[in-house]
Symmetry: C2
Subunit: 350 residues, 2 copies
């Protein structure tokens, strides 16, 4: 599959992003939502920050705290505390509860050429409710009925859920609350109504039966979702065996809705693939990538905050091509272009 | 708390229920939805069946199979198979997948006195879709806009989700699809609109952060749900420490919505308690049972298919009293009466 990575990759590094406060550093700038606005490509970056100068024998979780007037609380734990347990670079548990080592906000970046981005100095949207106490992550942007609808992952000790906000200018956001209850992320809202209703892919994470598969839901108003239908499942032994989830907002083609999705294999390697969904009934998969469209190959895709990851939350079209903006190793922002026709021609059976 | 158990308990035993096919036996008749219809109390029982005459060295999972014309497939596994692992009386895994040892359907039972029930000989609603392949469970009945809305747990290897059906006569049911994606159960739909929208308690089961807590959602049409809000959480060290979930459909009182819920403690003992929710904003808990309203005490509540369980999915009012229909030990159907005023007076802080 002739996916052409941008020669400028990574387009955005953490060091390109100003921290939101002087005592924080930007650890990661990745997993952006993306959309064309006039002559520009607009990204909403996920920016993960952590306190600077944490002693090597400690780990700190930054937590939004409604009870102290909406400021961040810093939970500092000694690594040799018997109640501390490291999970990976992103997570730890303390006294039986799970915490994050960083807190994410959304940051606006704009570009005329889609390659060189001007990054705003302040957050566009940051944790502001108890459901967002551990941060806001992985936005997707859908342009619907003349407004920009941004859904994002709201993370807290209540669970990982999906929230909705709407904006006209990417500076002022109106929060609309949680649209998918825990655990649910990787929500992509289709840019048009289907059969009279809005539609979205979503990715529940059940604990007893089932697994991290892709589902579809419908909505009369973008706020209330139901009529859930399974779209597709993980495939044992393949590149998308462990978990899958929607990526970029689906693109309408004559053949069907083209949805770029991510899949992780048993070794937690994240690749990108594509689904072709029926135009009238997008719960029907018409075709699917047998091999990954993109696998972690470049240096920044293989090594970083959480290595061996390519992950997308946004793509834009450029004529007959798709420009996929993707996070690399949960740390950098990269892009690649691919012909839509070539993606479709490369798909295998559903 | 003066809860008075019916002297006739258990009101319904598995042996009172005719199996749906000659080669099956009824293992459990429990966790009914309940509602008054005219002069009658109507129950939708959860009836769990399994094949008769399974050899002691085997375990069988009955599975609805869409691909063989909607008949049941019987997955028979030797207990000494290296790929077999017993979990508890309800569940096992085979080749890494989880299965149920029985399959549930919903069965109608009617009574004039609320104590002696005539049980229909055939299922009212049984597994009929891939989302229901492992059965339909734990119905709740809400009378809204002149119709009976039945939500129930749809179980399959896709996950544990909540489905909606509507009926006028409890014989013909119109399926409306899944209203809550996996994992979600213990859904109770309020019997009236609140602030112009329908409302429901629900119980997600996230896998990474959060836990089995009670949430609220709103809907414009009973089919699409959103604006999710956390209602209340488990309480460490108490009778509702491990998991909680909505029980009977909430009852409107002058003080607020009275919702009977279940809680399990660390030893998997299931008790019933009560929540008082704000009439205008039912995500606000005004008061809550400090001690259980009911704990497993009677013989049938302590010993059975899954012992030490009292669990409700339905209650009806009788003047100033509430008659709680509850499953005992996941095997029997029982009832108890309690004064609504006395429940309210016995509540502790939220």
């Amino acid at each position: 599959m002739p996916v052409e990575r941008f020669s400028e990759n990574p387009l955005i590094r953490p060091s390109d992003v100003a921290p939101s406060r002087p005592d924080f550093e930007v650890a990661c700038a990745f997993n952006c939502g993306a959309i064309r606005v006039g002559e520009e490509v607009v990204l909403l970056l996920r920016v993960a920050e952590r306190p600077k100068a944490v002693p090597a024998d400690r780990v700190v979780a930054p937590i939004f705290d409604d009870e102290v007037g909406g400021r961040l609380k810093l939970l500092s734990v000694r690594r040799d505390d018997p109640d501390f347990r490291a999970i990976d670079s992103r997570l730890f548990t303390y006294q039986g509860r799970t915490y994050l080592t960083s807190i994410s906000h959304l940051r606006l970046a704009r570009s005329r050429d889609g390659r060189r981005f001007a990054i705003e100095p302040k957050p566009a949207l940051e944790a502001a409710t108890p459901d967002e106490a551990f941060g806001v992550e992985d936005p997707r942007i859908s342009f619907i009925d003349g407004r920009y609808w941004v859904n994002y992952t709201a993370v807290s000790d209540r669970g990982i859920s999906t929230a909705l906000a709407v904006t006209d200018d990417f500076h002022t956001f109106e929060r609309r609350g949680l649209i998918f209850a825990p655990e649910n992320r990787d929500v992509t809202v289709f840019p048009a109504k289907i059969g009279g209703r809005y539609a979205a892919l979503h990715r529940p994470a059940p604990s007893v039966l089932g697994g991290r598969d892709i589902w579809l839901a419908y909505s009369p108003d973008l706020m209330h979702w139901g009529d859930h239908r399974l779209v597709c499942r993980r495939r044992a032994g393949q590149w998308d065996a462990l978990r899958i989830g929607g990526g970029a907002v689906p693109v309408r083609t004559e053949a069907g809705w083209l949805a770029i999705y991510h899949g992780a294999d048993a070794s937690e390697r994240y690749c990108l693939g594509a689904l072709l969904l029926d135009l009238q009934d997008p719960s029907k998969v018409l075709a699917r990538s047998a091999a990954p469209l993109m696998a972690p190959e470049a240096a920044e895709e293989r090594q970083g905050f959480f290595g061996n990851v390519v992950f997308t939350a946004g793509a834009v079209t450029d004529g007959d091509e798709l420009i996929i903006y993707y996070g690399a190793s949960d740390e950098y922002m990269c892009a690649a272009r691919v012909g839509i026709r070539e993606v479709l021609d490369g798909l295998g059976p559903a």
